[in-house]
Structures are given as C-alpha cells and as structure tokens.
C-alpha cells in the first residue's frame, strides 16, 4: 500500500494515496514491521538496478509521519509463526498481520490473499474500503 501511494503508474495509486494522506492527517500512528524497509529497498533495487535510489526510497519511508517500527524479535516472530500456522498466511504476510494484531491496529493492505486469509484475529480492509467506510452511509 505504501509503495502504491508513491507510484502514480500503479493501478492502486489513487486509493492508496487518498487513504494514506487521510490517515496521516488524522494523526494516527502507522505501525510497520522493519521487514517493510527490506522489502521496499529490495524491490526498488531490483526495479531500478540503482542502489542509491533504493537507499533514498528507504530513507524517505523512514521519514513517514507517525511511523512506529516493530522489530522481528523472538516474541514477534513467535506470534507471526503462530498466526501463520492458524491461517495459512505466507511468512512475510504473517509478519504484517501479527504486527497489526500485536498493536491492535487495523491492517490496511492491497493484498487480496492477505485479506482473505488473515481471518477474524485482525481487522483488515483495502484502502478503498477504508475510504468508503470513513465517508459513512449515503455518501
């Protein structure tokens, strides 16, 4: 979702950016596992073959207002592993879901598989669903 918000060529850019700016303006904390920075840095490096741009993207992400980072320590890894076992989530997906579960946060993602598998342990929705829910009935 964060990646789509920054990429105008991404099909999900508009709802992702709209969600993100609304969430940031509201002053909420954005909880992210530190895995996010590895994944984003790796994907940007593979797309551009430019380590400086990859580093710049991670540096900018670290400036995200309201960002709270969560390391994958032993306790967090155990929770993610348990959640993966219960839901059939893939490893990285389980780390994101467990971060949301641990912090009592809503999981906002564009990933359909993650949304379908995460189950009732975590409240989850897409950015577009979040925007619709925030707009309220009749709007």
């Amino acid at each position: 979702m964060l990646v789509a918000a920054g990429a105008v060529e991404d099909a999900a850019h508009d709802p992702a950016a709209e969600f993100l700016v609304a969430a940031l303006r509201s002053g909420v904390s954005i909880h992210q596992p530190t895995l996010t920075f590895v994944e984003v840095g790796a994907a940007v490096a593979r797309r551009t073959a430019d380590p400086q741009i990859a580093a710049a993207s991670v540096a900018e992400l670290l400036r995200l207002p309201g960002l709270v980072m969560h390391s994958l320590d032993l306790a967090a890894a155990a929770e993610a592993a348990a959640l993966a076992g219960q839901t059939g989530l893939r490893g990285a997906d389980a780390v994101y879901a467990a971060t949301a579960m641990r912090t009592g946060s809503m999981l906002v993602t564009l990933d359909r598989e993650l949304l379908e598998r995460v189950g009732p342990a975590v409240t989850s929705m897409t950015p577009a669903d979040w925007i619709r829910a925030s707009a309220g009935p009749g709007s």
């Binding site: 920054g6 940007v44 551009t48 073959a49 995200l64």
Partner: protein, 88 residues
C-alpha cells in the same frame, strides 16, 4: 548524555585551536553550536501542522516514486516486484 561522534581531523584541530584561543572548552563550544542550530531552525514537527506534514511527506514520497519510474530497468511496478518476491 554522552555521545561519540566522528569528526574530520582537520576540523577538530581547528576547533581545538579556537577553543584554546577563546578560553572555552570544546564541550562548551559544541553545546553552544547545538543550541544555536535549534534556535535558528526548529524541527519541522514543531512548525508544521499534521496536515501539511502529511501532504509534504506524500509529495516527497511521490518524487521518489517518479525517480524510480524514470530509472526503471524492469517495467513491472515496484509493487508487482514486491508481490513476486513474496512468492505469489
């Protein structure tokens, strides 16, 4: 609080000389410098509202996104690559 900072040799020699001539310790000069910097330019979080901080960050993030798109050697979007990395 103690802090360990790597300073270029030549710069440190100059500030040591300045310290000796001014009669103030390097520690005093360092604290004075920090206080001056903070007085001259308060951090953005103190002078920027939540809305403008959000908008400013998103603009900066999208500028990074534009650089990525311009430099791309792989025509997939960054998210598509990320999803592939996750084994989808």
């Amino acid at each position: 609080m103690k802090a360990t900072i790597n300073i270029p040799d030549q710069l440190y020699r100059r500030i040591k000389a300045h310290s000796a001539m001014s009669g103030r310790s390097v520690r005093e000069l360092t604290i004075e410098m920090y206080e001056r910097i903070l007085a001259e330019s308060p951090p953005p979080t103190l002078s920027t509202s939540g809305s403008s901080a959000a908008d400013a960050w998103l603009e900066a993030w999208q500028r990074v996104g534009d650089k990525i798109a311009t430099a791309a050697v792989d025509q997939r979007t960054t998210r598509e690559i990320l999803v592939t990395d996750r084994g989808r």
